[in-house]
């Protein structure tokens, strides 16, 4: 009797433990959804040109400074920098910028750039139609490449935000690509 009851309680508690293990994994998609909804983490939005035309009125009375920053992850030897480091941008207007990457090594390599916008509360208002960060970039030994970026700043950007910083970190993903 007692032992049966104890066994039943054991299985109940053990299944809670198993569920919580699953919950740990469930936190991963929850985290992504949460970040996307709130724009936390500096994650930027993606949009298309037709959406921009339909949605945004360029706000000709306002200029926002957009700064570009390029970083390398610690084990990434490429040269990586923006062509211009600061731009004055009209909210609502599609704007283009360029980054340059050169593979300074003697082997072909693949890189992946990961963007982040600060201040975080502005990241929701920064949308891209085209970005080299959408895909992995492969460069042959010694090769250089100009990489395009087209973006629009949502005119609803809060008034107190005068400057936006878009930072990219470039990672070496050559090994991961080879494995896939």
């Amino acid at each position: 009797m007692q032992e049966k009851k104890n066994q039943r309680s054991f299985f109940k508690m053990a299944s809670v433990a198993v569920m919580m293990f699953g919950f740990g994994y469930l936190l991963v998609p929850l985290y992504d959804i949460f970040c996307e909804l709130t724009g936390l983490n500096g994650k930027t939005g993606v949009t298309t040109e037709s959406e921009i035309a339909a949605q945004y009125q360029p706000d000709k009375n306002r200029l926002v400074t957009v700064q570009f920053v390029a970083n390398n992850a610690s084990d990434m030897p490429w040269d990586f920098k923006p062509l211009v480091s600061t731009m004055q941008v009209t909210p609502g207007q599609l704007t283009a910028a360029q980054f340059v990457a050169s593979n300074t090594t003697h082997t072909e390599m693949t890189g992946q750039a990961v963007p982040s916008v600060s201040p975080t509360k502005a990241s929701r208002y920064f949308n891209k139609t085209e970005c080299f960060c959408f895909e992995k970039q492969s460069l042959a030994a010694g090769e250089s490449k100009e990489m395009p970026l087209r973006f629009v700043v949502d005119p609803r950007l809060p008034d107190d935000v005068k400057t936006l910083t878009l930072a990219y970190t470039l990672f070496d993903v050559s090994n991961k690509t080879a494995a896939n």
């Binding site: 007692q2 104890n6 054991f10 433990a17 990672f171």
Partner: protein
């Protein structure tokens, strides 16, 4: 009752002879003893690492060990102390005391009990074996944040498996506690009649069952990030290292309450005995414990104020954290009210319990300072944090364990311990532990970062003082071993009640030492 339990119970045989008794035992008292001795051994292994840390920090510059080894000392010291010393010690106390305090013949799942103990020596051998591997022991901090922790050498998977094993052990131990408390209470032992140690352990066990698997998940993700090309925490593959911190602290903050709730139960048993008054506010103690446990799930990001959260997040976690101080304060006031106008005497367990109340509260205050988000930007990752958590853990959790050892040792062994030596142990420990940790507040406020082997010369004086306190504290723990050894060997016989003011089934209805099998017949609860 089952066949086996009947067989075990009815003939009043003692323990089996020889070493195999300890390997195959399913007796809650034997397993309690094993846990406690294991914890004591780990306490000294972790303590030896702390001595290396304090020796290196005795003076600025690098003189004793190289920086990589220093970092592995801080990392493994924490892992050993948390998972190897404090948690097993509490589980050992639970094994010894819960069946006796609720009038049960044994733990509900005795064979699993044996298993959950014997996993531990393997887990910690695995962890310590990493020191002998290419790349050395884990050195990225006990929180094993990626990407740094992923740079560990060959020992990495061994460390992860060690954490898995220790986690499985404590989940099984907790399930045993829950099932025992819910199913095995003597007739008449209602929930609201249970001693607070039983209550706090019940709630702790739920916390463990809910959070240890989350830690297991997080470290499994680290493992697959390193070996199976997943990118949970690697930005290059679309993951996010900050997410690790969220998952880790979702476990980590409840974990710090796992390390302190049983202590609350112990102090709530000891203070009434030596004040010779019943505990003030029993039911408020139960509710305070439950609300602390609940709140501990919604404050985790106070460990991450500086990762770049939005202001709303900072505010939420700041206020939620401060709210925990309310039920904690309720407890402290209840203990003080219990002592108020009591006929107090100051035997060693009471000294440790009062030391706990005073110094744990101090740690709570520094916690409140850290909870102020804008202030934490300065304090975070400095020695101020180190001072905070050593006040709550050493003079909190560890002091409660020592208090418990002194309080129940005569019950367990039947012999009084050496009171003079016990008092010496208390006073030398208490003076030296404050010399050790109080200056670390100043170091932290002045900006000395934690987890560094070398420091600017402006920090030299307080570090030297802190190290001296550390060496004295470390050595004085040998007295504790002598006290335990002597009490096991013999000494003045303890009465069944042991202490004049002691209450509870183990003191009122069992001999000192209790028979190998106690409460085969359920006791009558008044």
């Amino acid at each position: 009752m089952s066949h086996e339990a009947t067989h075990d119970g009815h003939d009043d045989h003692g323990p089996a002879k020889g070493l195999m008794r300890w390997v195959t035992t399913t007796n809650h008292k034997d397993i309690g003893t094993l846990y406690l001795l294991f914890a004591l051994v780990m306490f000294f292994i972790g303590g030896a690492m702390a001595m290396v840390i304090r020796a290196e920090l005795f003076q600025p510059g690098l003189q004793v060990v190289d920086p990589q080894f220093f970092n592995s000392m801080t990392t493994v010291h924490a892992l050993v102390m948390i998972f190897g010393a404090v948690m097993p010690a509490f589980t050992g106390l639970a094994n010894w005391l819960i069946p006796m305090q609720i009038g049960a013949p044994d733990m509900a799942l005795p064979r699993m009990n044996n298993f959950s103990f014997w996993i531990l020596p393997f887990a910690f051998s695995l962890l310590l074996s990493t020191f002998f591997m290419e790349g050395g022991g884990p050195a990225g901090g006990w929180t094993i944040y990626p990407p740094l922790s992923l740079q560990m050498g060959d020992g990495f998977p061994f460390m992860i498996f060690a954490i898995h094993l220790a986690g499985i052990s404590s989940i099984m131990g907790s399930i045993n506690v829950v099932v025992t408390i819910l199913n095995m209470r003597a007739p008449g032992m209602t929930l609201m009649k249970m001693p607070l140690f039983v209550w706090t352990w019940l709630i702790t066990a739920y916390l463990l069952i809910a959070t240890m698997p989350v830690l297991a998940g997080a470290v499994t993700m680290l493992l697959t990030d390193k070996f199976a090309a997943t990118s949970f925490f690697s930005a290059a593959g679309g993951g996010d290292p900050v997410m690790y911190q969220h998952i880790f602290w979702f476990f980590g903050h409840p974990e710090v309450y796992i390390l302190i709730l049983p202590a609350f139960g112990i102090v709530s048993a000891i203070v009434p005995t030596f004040a010779r008054k019943p505990l003030f506010g029993y039911s408020s103690m139960v509710y305070a414990t439950a609300s602390i446990a609940f709140l501990s799930f919604i404050v985790w990001a106070h460990h991450m104020f500086t990762v770049g959260m939005p202001v709303v997040g900072e505010l939420f976690f700041m206020y939620a954290t401060m709210m925990i101080a309310v039920p904690t304060g309720v407890k402290v006031f209840n203990w003080v009210s219990t002592m108020w106008k009591g006929s107090m005497t100051f035997e060693t367990p009471m000294l440790f319990a009062i030391g706990f109340i005073m110094m744990f509260t101090l740690g709570g205050f520094s916690g409140l300072m850290l909870a102020i988000a804008p202030a934490d930007f300065q304090y975070h990752d400095t020695y101020f944090v180190v001072a905070h958590f050593h006040y709550v853990l050493v003079t909190g959790a560890i002091y409660s364990i020592m208090a418990a050892a002194y309080y129940w040792l005569p019950k367990w062994t039947g012999n009084m311990y050496d009171e003079t030596l016990g008092k010496w142990h208390f006073w030398i420990s208490t003076i030296s532990v404050n010399v050790l940790f109080f200056p670390q507040h100043f170091l932290g406020l002045a900006g000395m970062p934690r987890r560094i082997p070398d420091y600017a010369v402006q920090f030299a004086d307080w570090n030297m003082i802190s190290s001296i306190g550390g060496f004295v504290f470390g050595l004085s723990q040998l007295m504790f071993v002598v006290v335990i050894y002597k009490a096991i060997k013999g000494g003045k016989k303890a009465t069944d009640q042991v202490w004049e003011g002691a209450t509870g089934l183990e003191f009122e209805q069992l001999s000192s030492p209790p028979p190998y099998h106690s409460f085969n017949e359920a006791p009558v609860i008044k």
